[in-house]
């Protein structure tokens, strides 16, 4: 009974810690942005009031907020999936464009198709186009070693110009001189959830995507492999996982998610493809992913928070005159504070104590190393010296002895590591489980090698005595 209680409180503290950083980051960012707004000569209170009243105080406001959250969920998941596998996907914007284009192609053709089938085709087209665009990034990295950070960013421009090319040429809507496509057919649009708002059934798909993301990452082998590859590529390779395949799949999923979001946004909200229709949505998702800590529930909450900001930003510009682009400032500050976590840990007494301990341990290790070096020096005898067979064997035996003691030290350390990992694994951290197994395996291997050395050493010592006797 007591045990359950402590376990529960442990989980509570863990959850609290998980919330502490993003909450602190959000509050700090709100304060800093308020100062900046004031410095630009506006009243920050008025600005925030305009922002929040327009986005949360009415049904219509909530509809707009959740509509924005829907797209944010897709782009945030896109970034999170790739990040979990160790890839930085800055290409959500380009993937949105490609998904939107493919979805729109389907949505403007097949007139008279049964609506649910038409919608499913639109969504599948979006996923496929986005996945291909995302996979290109991983392929370029796997085949040629091109940094995914730059290639994904460059592909954003390619996607954007490709879209502009299409809508000013082959896909230009009939009867218009503007660069825009024909409107999506009614049968291809997802239904609205609340009439009179723009909140559409895409929200349900986004929630389903979050749940799928959770199950994929936590309950499937592939998701598990991706996490290991992301956390520790060499450990993953050691355990026989294919790093490149996992990264390719992660980027394809990431692209697919963004493409799905793009198809929904283009056909339901924008209705037509226009120049620069995807705006900054690709990067908005990045801030959401960081505030949400790449976790399913975190992303869900963060997407609502940022949905409020995005839907209220335009109203803030209209009512209070503050440029809506302060949202980017907000996002940048939030991300910086979250990744600069060490700033707060520095003032944490517990970490300070641990650091002190590590320092003392380090000094101890250093003095131990010095002793070994001194021993080495005494072994080296200056001048021309031809060792006899007996001396050679003795030296070999000596060397073997040193190796054995070194191996023993490594094994002790590995076993200690293993215990630490196992403790973490018992707390439910799955990544630690495989680390514990790896440590155990390595300790095993080294122990075996040490055993071999011991028998070798015995053989050398025997030879040394024999040869010494002969001489």
């Amino acid at each position: 009974m007591n045990e359950v209680k402590t376990k529960n409180s442990m989980a509570f503290i863990k959850a609290l810690n998980g919330v502490r950083d993003p909450a602190f980051a959000l509050i700090t960012a709100i304060v800093i942005v308020a100062i900046i707004i004031a410095a630009m000569g506006y009243n920050p209170l008025n600005a925030y009031r305009a922002l929040f009243t327009s986005s949360v105080s009415s049904l219509g406001g909530w509809g707009e907020t959740l509509q924005k959250s829907t797209l944010l969920i897709f782009t945030a998941l896109s970034f999170a999936v790739a990040k979990k596998c160790g890839m930085i996907n800055l290409g959500a914007s380009g993937q949105l464009y490609m998904g939107g284009i493919a979805g729109m192609l389907v949505a403007t053709t097949f007139e008279g198709l049964f609506s649910p089938i038409h919608i499913i085709l639109v969504l599948l087209a979006g996923i496929a186009a986005g996945a291909v665009f995302g996979a290109i990034v991983a392929l370029l990295k796997n085949l040629f070693g091109a940094s995914e950070v730059v290639t994904s960013m460059m592909l954003n421009y390619v996607g954007q110009y490709f879209c502009t090319y299409l809508i000013s040429g082959p896909m230009r809507g009939p009867g218009t001189d503007l660069a825009q496509s024909a409107p999506s057919l009614e049968s291809a649009r997802l239904p609205m959830l609340i009439s009179g708002t723009r909140l559409h059934a895409g929200l349900l798909i986004a929630i389903a995507a979050i749940i799928l993301y959770y199950f994929f990452m936590e309950r499937t082998t592939r998701g598990y492999q991706m996490k290991v590859v992301g956390m520790n590529p060499s450990a993953g390779a050691y355990a026989g996982m294919k790093i490149k395949t996992n990264q390719l799949i992660a980027m394809a999923i990431a692209g697919g998610l963004a493409g799905l979001g793009g198809a929904i946004q283009a056909t339901v909200i924008n209705v037509r493809l226009t120049i620069d229709w995807a705006g900054n949505y690709g990067f908005d998702g990045l801030a959401v992913a960081f505030v949400g800590g790449m976790a399913p529930i975190g992303i869900a909450i963060a997407s609502v928070l940022f949905g409020i900001l995005l839907s209220g930003a335009d109203k803030m510009q209209m009512l209070a005159g503050v440029p809506s682009s302060v949202i980017y400032l907000f996002q940048g500050i939030v991300i910086l504070i979250i990744i600069g976590r060490e700033l707060f840990d520095k003032f944490d007494i517990k970490t300070l104590r641990e650091k002190h301990k590590a320092k003392i341990q380090n000094e101890k290790n250093l003095s131990a190393e010095k002793i070994i070096i001194l021993n080495d020096a005494s072994d080296r005898i200056p001048g021309k010296f031809v060792p006899s067979e007996a001396e050679k064997a003795a030296a070999n035996a000596n060397y073997a002895a040193k190796q054995i003691s070194a191996a023993k030290a490594v094994v002790t350390k590995l076993l200690a590591d293993k215990e630490v990992y196992e403790k973490a694994a018992a707390d439910g951290d799955e990544g630690s489980m495989i680390m514990a197994k790896l440590a155990a395996r390595q300790a095993d291997d080294i122990t075996k090698a040490a055993e071999r050395m011991i028998s070798e050493r015995a053989a050398y010592e025997k030879t040394a005595i024999q040869k010494g006797g002969e001489a």
């Binding site: 630009m40 040629f144 730059v150 960081f290 980017y328 996002q331 500050i333 910086l336 600069g340």
Partner: protein, 300 residues
């Protein structure tokens, strides 16, 4: 042909200013994907400074100072707090986007500022009359400075003590620390220097080429400068070559747009970005990438 070369020389200027400085930061072990944002900041403050005082030189100075302050923030987070450099760079880009767009809407849009005083070309008598390459000797002051900086970079990189230190810090920070080099202080210096020069590059984009600011006007050139260092295999001459090749792509893009080729001009607009991707894919047998590039140095 002369017009083409003229635009090539001009388009290479911001890339050279930024990439030659960033080479030091990259070599000392700090990867800065936020070059884009730094250039954007420089572009805005270049115009603002010129708008307020009437002098593009004051604008360039303001651009350098503001961009340096922003990179100081970046340095604090990545070097002192050991944050992930790529993510911090993305945050820097978002910050710069927010700052520049907001200030543009506060100061420039309401005042309806269309043009400010920009840099003028200074033709060198005699030399600028040479056929074909004469265009090189008819540039703005910043243009001449950019090409001169290639030489300065090469000299500092190979012939000075600080260049040697920078090159070794990225490859083995621990060893450098043992021989008494202050790794983090050196990294701070390279990051701040990168900020100053990226700001100048941004000021050139807004006041040297167009005399105006528009939102997100850098359009990926910061990333292209970042790629130029990788494609140039982390040497000054290589970076120079890479910048010229990328500028060639941009100049060709403008040329083909004007020529009304059968291929749509939107495809030509993709050209610089596609060239960058292709350049990153050209593998090298021996990369000079610093072994500890992108890894924060934690003194134990």
């Amino acid at each position: 042909m002369e017009a083409f070369l003229g635009s090539l020389f001009q388009l290479a200027v911001p890339l050279l200013l930024c990439a030659c400085a960033y080479l030091f930061s990259e070599k000392s072990g700090v990867e800065n994907i936020g070059l884009e944002g730094l250039m954007l900041t420089g572009a805005l403050f270049g115009v603002l400074g010129s708008y307020w005082t009437g002098s593009p030189y004051v604008g360039a100075l303001l651009a350098m100072v503001m961009s340096m302050l922003l990179s100081l923030l970046f340095a604090f987070f990545t070097i002192t707090l050991h944050s992930n450099q790529i993510v911090a760079g993305v945050a820097l880009n978002l910050l710069a986007s927010g700052i520049t767009i907001s200030l543009n809407r506060v100061f420039l849009t309401p005042a309806n500022v269309v043009r400010v005083n920009g840099f003028h070309n200074i033709a060198i008598p005699g030399l600028s009359q040479i056929p074909v390459i004469g265009a090189f000797f008819n540039q703005t002051t910043l243009g001449y400075l950019a090409y001169f900086m290639v030489f300065v970079t090469w000299f500092v990189f190979y012939k000075t003590d600080i260049g040697l230190k920078i090159r070794s810090v990225g490859d083995n920070p621990t060893a450098c620390d043992t021989v008494g080099i202050n790794v983090n202080a050196l990294r701070y210096k390279t990051v701040l220097y990168t900020g100053i020069m990226a700001g100048l590059a941004g000021a050139f984009i807004s006041t040297g080429q167009l005399s105006a600011f528009s939102e997100n006007m850098v359009s990926g050139r910061g990333f292209i400068a970042y790629a130029a260092v990788i494609f140039g295999n982390y040497t000054p001459i290589g970076v120079f070559r890479a910048c010229i090749i990328f500028a060639l792509g941009m100049a060709a893009q403008y040329r083909f747009q004007a020529l009304e080729t059968p291929i749509s001009f939107y495809f030509w607009m993709m050209l610089p970005y596609i060239i960058t991707i292709v350049a990153l894919c050209l593998n090298r047998k021996k990369s000079n990438k610093p072994k500890f590039g992108g890894v924060p140095y934690i003194k134990s």
